[in-house]
């Protein structure tokens, strides 16, 4: 309809306690338009949804892909350059993508239970070679972005030796879940003392639960970076609201919602400093990334390699 902006995103974004409702309200107040969210399971499903719909898509904007997926997304030829200056963007390593714009970022981290684990691993190597009776729950890289994140993290640290690292880590893995929620659920139900999540996860427990029990382990090799992005479709290029929203996304009205709904770090300025809990989060010494092009090219081989090892 006239004056409507259709945004495809994943469902935890539009969930009641997600940023969706806040953002929607704020944007509708300034554009006097109607925002329609259409949500799917997660970033990967989002990309496939776009591939499926092709040129017929109803989406003006797609919000919720991450840097591991941008090459593939670009290859669909369904996205158009946003034409917005990225200077207000503040993500590690800077930003110079002309098609996608970030709205938040975070670092993968091993979150552990201080009541169960006195000496958390201090490096990825420590994690891989540590006591196999101290278990970790991870996600499946075939179905989950944090799962893929860990795969890339180990790849970027171990390179061609990643296979051996996995072979060792395997003994510490309690189980591999299909998604982040399942893994985190097992962790908070005390099934395992460690889980793969984000450096910012403890902030949730501090702010909402008022407990310091769960902490992220800082790894000396650095942490793998995930940046979540949005992009404008060909259809969106004809809707002035699309570009307006992308601009809005980098303003405090949007960014203020990020920390305490997404439990990620904002990709641009917020109106007020973050809750002090965030200051106490692990600050990676080094931010690891693998270029999106390389991921697009090699992901399949790497997953096969992972499968080889893990299914032995």
């Amino acid at each position: 309809a006239e004056n409507t902006l259709t945004i495809y995103t994943y469902d935890s974004f539009t969930a009641e306690w997600g940023p969706g409702p806040i953002v929607e309200k704020a944007f509708e107040a300034q554009c006097s338009c109607q925002v329609d969210f259409v949500s799917v399971a997660d970033g990967v499903a989002l990309l496939n949804r776009i591939k499926l719909e092709g040129a017929n898509t109803k989406a003006d904007l797609v919000l919720g892909l991450d840097t591991n997926l941008t090459t593939e997304a670009r290859a669909t030829n369904l996205f158009v350059p946003h034409g917005i200056s990225a200077e207000s963007v503040a993500v590690p390593g800077g930003w110079n993508d002309d098609t996608f714009l970030p709205y938040d970022y975070g670092y993968f981290a091993v979150v552990y239970d201080t009541e169960k684990l006195q000496t958390p691993p201090t490096s990825l190597k420590d994690l891989v070679e540590g006591d196999p009776s101290q278990k970790i729950v991870i996600q499946d890289p075939r179905t989950s972005t944090p799962g893929l994140g860990l795969l890339l993290w180990i790849k970027s640290v171990y390179g061609d030796d990643a296979g051996n690292a996995w072979a060792k880590l395997k003994n510490r893995v309690l189980t591999v879940t299909p998604g982040w929620s399942e893994a985190y659920g097992l962790f908070t139900k005390n099934e395992a003392p460690m889980v793969l999540s984000y450096t910012t996860s403890p902030a949730y427990h501090i702010i909402a639960d008022k407990t310091e029990r769960y902490q992220a382990a800082s790894f000396s090799e650095g942490h793998y970076l995930q940046v979540e992005v949005a992009g404008m479709t060909k259809k969106g290029a004809e809707n002035p609201l699309a570009k307006q929203f992308l601009q809005f996304m980098l303003t405090p009205s949007f960014q203020d919602a990020v920390p305490e709904t997404q439990w990620m770090l904002p990709a641009a300025k917020t109106s007020e400093p973050l809750d002090e809990a965030f200051d106490r989060m692990v600050k990676p010494t080094k931010s690891l990334t693998i270029p999106s092009d390389e991921i697009a090219e090699k992901r399949k081989t790497w997953i096969d390699e992972w499968l080889q090892v893990m299914s032995r």
Partner: protein, 537 residues
Amino acid sequence: MRRIPADPRLLGGALALGMLAVLIGGAFVGLIAEGARNPQAAWAAFDFYLLRIIRFTLLQALLSTVLAVLPALVVARALSRHPVFPGRQLILQLFAVPLALPAIVAALGLLALLGRAGFLATPLGALIGEPWPGIYGLSGILVAHVFFNLPMATRLFLEALQTIPTDQHRLGVQLGFSASNTFRFIEWPALRKALPSVAGLVFMLCVTSFTLVLTLGGGPRATTLEVAIYQALRFDFDPARAVALTLVQLALTVVILAVLSRLGADTAGDANLSVAPRRFDRPNARERMINVALLVVTVVFVVSPLAAIVFAGLFADLQRLAFETSVRSATVTSLWLAFAAATVAIALSFALLRTRHLLQSRRPGGRPSLFERLTDRGAGYVLVVPPIVIGAGWFILLRTMTDLFALAPIMAITVNGVMAMPFALRLLRPAHDDAATRHDRLCASLGLTGWNRLRLIDWPSLRRPLTSAFAFAMALSLGDLGVIALFGSDAVKTLPYLLLERMGSYRTADAAGLGLFLAALTLALMLLSDRLGRSRR
């Protein structure tokens, strides 16, 4: 060859099969059309890993089936030997609850008991003399599958046992049958008739199980074909491979089920009016003790994870939850979607059953035709086609339509209905076939056909199994979240969807509360269906 006169009952079955064919065929057409751009991908599916997956898929599914079905036979028999005792109805109603739970809720319920930090971890650890390792890996998968399928199989078997004409019990008593004679000559023939189809159903459910296998399986060592299909579509977006893998899954299932079907036999129906309305044999003290022990163990096994779910749910702010608009509207959405899906499931099952029975009665002795086989086991194979395949295929076909989102509820209803149909089919079949053998000639001679027959004969005599199949189908759809998520329409947010959303936004207590709510809703459904199904006199 004699011409078979056209019969509306044949038409019904043909229509139902047609609908299934369109639903699945359409999805395949969509995927293949899309996959044709990259046909080699289909071949790439056949790699080192596939064999391993196939082996594991079959292993866990066969083990799960045996572990669920054999005890279910015994438990169903024990229940039928004691037709009245306090709490019997409640047990049966509770037995319908596991299926309605989203897999992750059930998995967490099981882990709350048997996990490394579960209630039983300490005693179990003491038992084995080291810290309890939890139930991850094959054992976890098996426990979970038995938890889901044993109660269901028990209900299905019990349904079959209840169609035994009461005169047979009178006869057995007359002839001095012991418990084992009764089993051999009266109960086993009825169970055996149901065995292949129940075992087949459980097997298919275990083959296609996904979240449970991934969550409790421990890793890629324990993955199933379903996961590979899921990956092909979700991550790699590789329709050709998804189709190839689905076909592999289908072929394997058909082969295994063909073997399974040798276990059973179509035994002769009894066309007589059942006169004596009760059972006359009383189990002796020893058997009674065994049965009680058996029932207690089973009930504890099924109920304790449910209790864990309830327990966890009680910590939620249930009152707030109950008054939230989002919960209410999700409840309404869930209920009406499930209601519509159950209607589809029952209509399909009924049409298929009638056609199958008609075809069978027309060939005394001979081999069943392809049509008959399709209406029989064939239709059940839909379970092996993952909903994500159906969803994605149709998505591709329909994507040029202007309003795809408006179709989301229709897709959800159809797919859930079709997926619930195999369950409904099995619940209905013993009673239906029995009633049909008894009534067909009489109806034909009185000119009772169509609506009149449905209203005056079929509905009253099948009221109980029909309502319970309906409630069961509703419960199943209630717990499902596959299809809706695929079409991603925010207009139709169901309870499991909301539950997962809360879990994802880390509202664990809310999620537990919703899990409890879903379980309670199922139980209420079962109670209601029981009430409605009871005959009026």
